[in-house]
Amino acid sequence: METGFDIALALLLLCVGGWSVIARNMMTAVIVFIAYGLLLSLAWVRLHAIDVSLTEAAIGSGATGLLMVIAAHKVAGDTKRVVQLSRGFHVLAAVFAALVAVGIAALAFVLPGEPSSLAAPVLERLPDSGLGNPVAGVLFVFRSFDTLLEKVVLLLALIGVWALARDADWGGVPGLRLFRERHSVLTLLARTLPPIGFVFAIYMTWAGADVPGGAFQGGTVLAAMWILVMVAGVRRPPRISSPPLRLAIVAGPVVFLAIGFLGFLAPGAFLAYPEGFAKPLIVAMETALTLSIAVILGLLIAGPPKGEDAP
């Protein structure tokens, strides 16, 4: 029964993934890609990786999909396929891609027989941190440097996106397309859903210490609520020069770094937690990160600032 489900899921993944590659219409391709992301998060559940599944559904499918939908809508005009590829080239590309796929698939049969695993060492040291979720433990204790840099990457991405604004628009309002229809279903949703989403996001962040969830997943839910409010036109996106906004953006990385440097004082190493204080420090860090992640994700999707008259 379970194998049957897995086979169906694997086939469905290949079909839906293939559909989004060959779809003629760009919007179709993007929407199929979102569906693909949701199917993929099911596959992650089957691989016993609930944390990854939540992230894939929220970021890989939801946030990436939304970015692509906005982009596909804006470039919908250029349907002209500029490069006319010959049939021979298509066949050549297909053969090359098939070789790559077969080569990687064949690796499944030459993987070393005895898989190595860090699960046991992680579980052995996890109680010291006060966390119950091993993945959160890896993210915030054992490999917290990775997590810190990941937040910095998000920050850099936002700077990169803002840098693409025209000089005249700098400091202005992000050019998210608004749907200002006063009595639409979207407006109703944007007014009723956010309170529920807020509670859910806080729960996800808090529960992430012990069960699947965490700052990133909670932050994405918050971001989704904010985007809903902006898209429905209930609230305009803020000016990117607004000081509270800038503060919210850097809060996460700053708190993270501050706690990291605090480690020099107590246990004597960067990003090390003083004994007995690991859990409260991690929760403080996660709270600041949730806020920053929500704001950064929302702004990344809202795009660079754009003047009122600009196209």
Partner: protein, 105 residues
Amino acid sequence: MSAALLFWLAGSGLIGLSVYGLIVNPHPLCKLLALNLLGSGVFLLFGVIARRGASAGLGGDPVPQALVITGIVVAFSATAIAVALLLRLHTEAGEASIDEEDGQP
């Protein structure tokens, strides 16, 4: 046939599909989509490796799982920049294309 092996095959198939899409689709947005698909296929392979490392009562090795989470976030950041670049190109040139200028009328 175990779930791990099945999803390994699915992951490699997805990588193949997206490599094909990356080569033949001329529009930058399609290429970006294929690149994201390629990334998800690679992550899936990594997930299978995490699943093979199931031990000590856990369903999978938490270290590769945490790395995949970081990977998904970094992939999203890269996509956000790429989309912003693409849209700016579209505003400037009237069309997003990665072709040489002389191909334009």
